[in-house]
């Protein structure tokens, strides 16, 4: 493709400008976080005496170790279970094509457009009755359910494109349905399963509404839910709030930079299939 010099420079400056706009907010809160606690600094100003201690302070008051443990626990409880059951369902609907597949698919797809806010109120009363309100299960169980429409839809999209010949050949060799799933199709589905796993981990880590409504104790919540509580307590102490935000966002940013290619690919595929 031949492009004029003028266009090249105009285009690149536009992209540089947008990159600057994207990065600037992060730089601003980082610098603000270094100002003395309780002051109201200017938007973008390197402090005379950087207060690195703010991060330590925020780390303590946000109870970061407990938070990290809680978030990790929730992700580890939600994602493997959701992956396992949605892959099985996607296999049965997309590949085995059991009677009623179309109706099942329709039922799951119906859930794709349901906003979380639409069902949060009954979920609250339901969980009170079930006795799991204000425990980590209160976040884990509904999230697994809420991911099902997308996850089943996603896995079905993979299995529906697998050629039937693979299964027929295995059947002739006398492989059972479970064997067919476990030994033949699961290894072939590694790519969509890992993308789905990345997607659901990011969504769980960042989940706010469910954590806010269903769990009162911030240290039992997800990262995002805890950040909401942190803001409630430190709304007036801007440097400390910024320090807390930096600390809470940091794990996600580091993971993103490390796994950026996989995460971007997963998020994009996720939205295209959804």
């Amino acid at each position: 493709m031949r492009i004029s010099r003028a266009e090249l420079w105009a285009g690149r400056s536009l992209l540089f400008g947008l990159m600057a706009i994207t990065i600037l907010p992060f730089i601003s809160i980082f610098m603000t976080a270094l100002h003395p606690s309780g002051t109201v600094p200017r938007g973008l100003e390197w402090p005379d005496d950087p207060q690195w201690g703010n991060f330590v302070e925020a780390f303590k008051v946000a109870e970061m170790p407990a938070l990290l443990a809680s978030s990790t626990f929730i992700v580890l409880a939600v994602v493997p279970v959701a992956l396992a059951i949605s892959t099985m369902a996607g296999f049965a609907i997309g590949h085995l094509r059991i009677p009623g597949s179309r109706a099942l698919l329709f039922l799951f797809v119906f859930g794709l457009t349901l906003p979380f806010t639409g069902i949060i109120v009954p979920l609250y009363y339901l969980e009170r009755d079930m006795g799991i309100y204000n425990t980590r299960l209160a976040i884990v169980l509904p999230l697994i359910g809420l991911y099902m429409p997308f996850a089943v839809f996603w896995m079905r999209a993979h299995f529906v494109n697998m050629p039937a010949e693979i299964s027929e050949a295995a059947r002739v060799d006398g492989v059972s349905t479970w064997g067919l799933f476990w030994r033949i199709h699961l290894p072939l589905a590694r790519a969509p399963i890992s993308s789905l796993g990345i997607l659901m981990s990011v969504w769980t880590w960042n989940q706010f509404l469910i954590a806010l409504v269903l769990v009162e104790d911030p240290t039992q919540r997800t990262m995002a839910g805890a950040l909401g509580a942190f803001q409630g307590h430190y709304a007036t102490d801007i440097p400390l709030l910024c320090a807390g935000t930096v600390i809470i966002v940091l794990p996600t940013l580091v993971l993103f930079v490390l796994f950026q290619r996989q995460i971007i690919a997963a998020l994009l595929q996720g939205s295209v299939k959804g």
């Binding site: 493709m1 690149r12 947008l18 990159m19 706009i21 994207t22 907010p25 601003s28 809160i29 109201v40 200017r42 938007g43 059951i85 099985m88 369902a89 049965a92 609907i93 085995l96 059991i98 009677p99 099942l104 329709f106 039922l107 457009t113 349901l114 906003p115 979380f116 806010t117 639409g118 069902i119 949060i120 109120v121 009954p122 979920l123 609250y124 169980l141 509904p142 359910g145 429409p149 089943v152 002739v172 006398g174 059972s176 349905t177 064997g179 799933f181 706010f208 509404l209 806010l212 995002a224 950040l227 909401g228 801007i238 996600t252 993103f256 950026q260 971007i264 998020l267 939205s271 295209v272």
Partner: protein, 328 residues
């Protein structure tokens, strides 16, 4: 479990053997049918067992709450005492009380910021990226633009809450370029709060739309552009005649994601303004939360929730229809 598996194995073998020998006589053909229908029934049963765990979780934690939402919406209930049947009164209240109806109006205003601007601008930026940013510069640009998408929306709300505050970065920049007279506490201003929340949405969603649309462009056949250029087409003609029509599917995806994000917005608004000042940024998500958990008006909250769910469905379905050649 193991036994069941072996039984199915045996069954499949039997069917296969019989399929090979089904031309012999009428009697084996008859037993072939019995075996086949047994195998099919067993197959169906096993298939449904595969679906059952997912279906159970979905039913208990999504479908049941959904039906309960619909049910609650016909009652007056404070969450503790007895429920009183009120018919469609809660729905009438949503449509008649200006503060409640305004949340739906605000949701549609947010669509302009969350959806229209990121998708339009995303198309332009993606096509610029496609033309001028190859190699590592392009990769770096995509990584950076995508950053806001991976941090929690709550964090985006807090970060921008500070940037848009009176001493924040936005006002500082405005003063620096001589626009000191327009500075204000953006999120506390009745006229500017909603556009400011919209700006946060643009920041979060622009990179996502750009990268998604760029991915779509890289899949297009470069020969299309070559031949257009031989015919003397400029950047704009190329953009309107080739890029936009061929990216119909990707544009549909961007619209679906961003419109849903706008109509069902909660996190950003809750953290940045909590619906204020007054009712200026109240969206259905926020109003449902306030009605249910601070005012204990479960019926009214549920009516608004049901209306929100219908609204999302009504807006998303045509977008999906338009952007897909084949539906499900």
């Amino acid at each position: 479990m193991r036994q069941a598996q072996e039984a199915t194995c045996a069954c499949h073998l039997m069917v296969l053997k019989m399929m090979r020998s089904d031309d012999r006589s009428a009697a084996p053909a008859f037993s072939w049918w019995i075996a086949l229908s047994k195998a099919i029934r067993r197959e169906t049963l096993i298939g449904w067992l595969f679906v059952l765990p997912a279906l159970t979780m979905y039913a208990v934690f999504v479908l049941v709450p959904f039906l309960l939402s619909v049910r609650y919406s016909f009652y007056r209930w404070d969450g503790i005492g007895p429920m009183t049947w009120v018919g469609f009164k809660n729905y009438r209240t949503v449509l008649e009380v200006p503060n409640l109806l305004e949340t739906i109006y605000n949701a549609f205003r947010l669509v302009a910021y969350f959806s229209f601007i990121p998708v339009t601008l995303g198309l332009v930026v993606a096509s610029v990226m496609y033309r001028v940013a190859t190699g590592s510069f392009g990769a770096a640009a995509r990584t950076v633009l995508f950053l806001p998408q991976v941090i929690p929306l709550v964090a985006a709300g807090i970060i921008w809450g500070w940037l848009l505050a009176l001493p924040g970065l936005i006002n500082e920049i405005l003063r620096a370029v001589g626009l000191g007279s327009v500075t204000r506490a953006w999120l506390g201003d009745f006229d500017w709060a909603l556009p400011s929340v919209g700006l946060i949405g643009i920041w979060v969603l622009l990179g996502f739309c750009t990268v998604l649309l760029w991915t779509g462009m890289t899949k297009l056949d470069p020969a299309l552009y070559e031949s257009a250029r031989i015919d003397g087409a400029g950047w704009f003609t190329e953009f309107i005649k080739i890029t936009v029509p061929l990216l119909r599917h990707e544009i549909g995806v961007c619209l679906t994601v961003t419109v849903t994000a706008a109509l069902a917005a909660f996190d950003i608004v809750y953290v940045a303004t909590a619906g204020g000042p007054g009712n200026a940024t109240a969206v259905p998500g926020i109003q449902i939360y306030i009605l249910a958990f601070t005012q204990q008006r479960i019926g009214l909250a549920s009516a608004l929730a049901v209306m929100l769910m219908i609204l999302v469905l009504v807006v998303i379905l045509p977008i999906q229809r338009l952007s897909r050649e084949t539906t499900l």
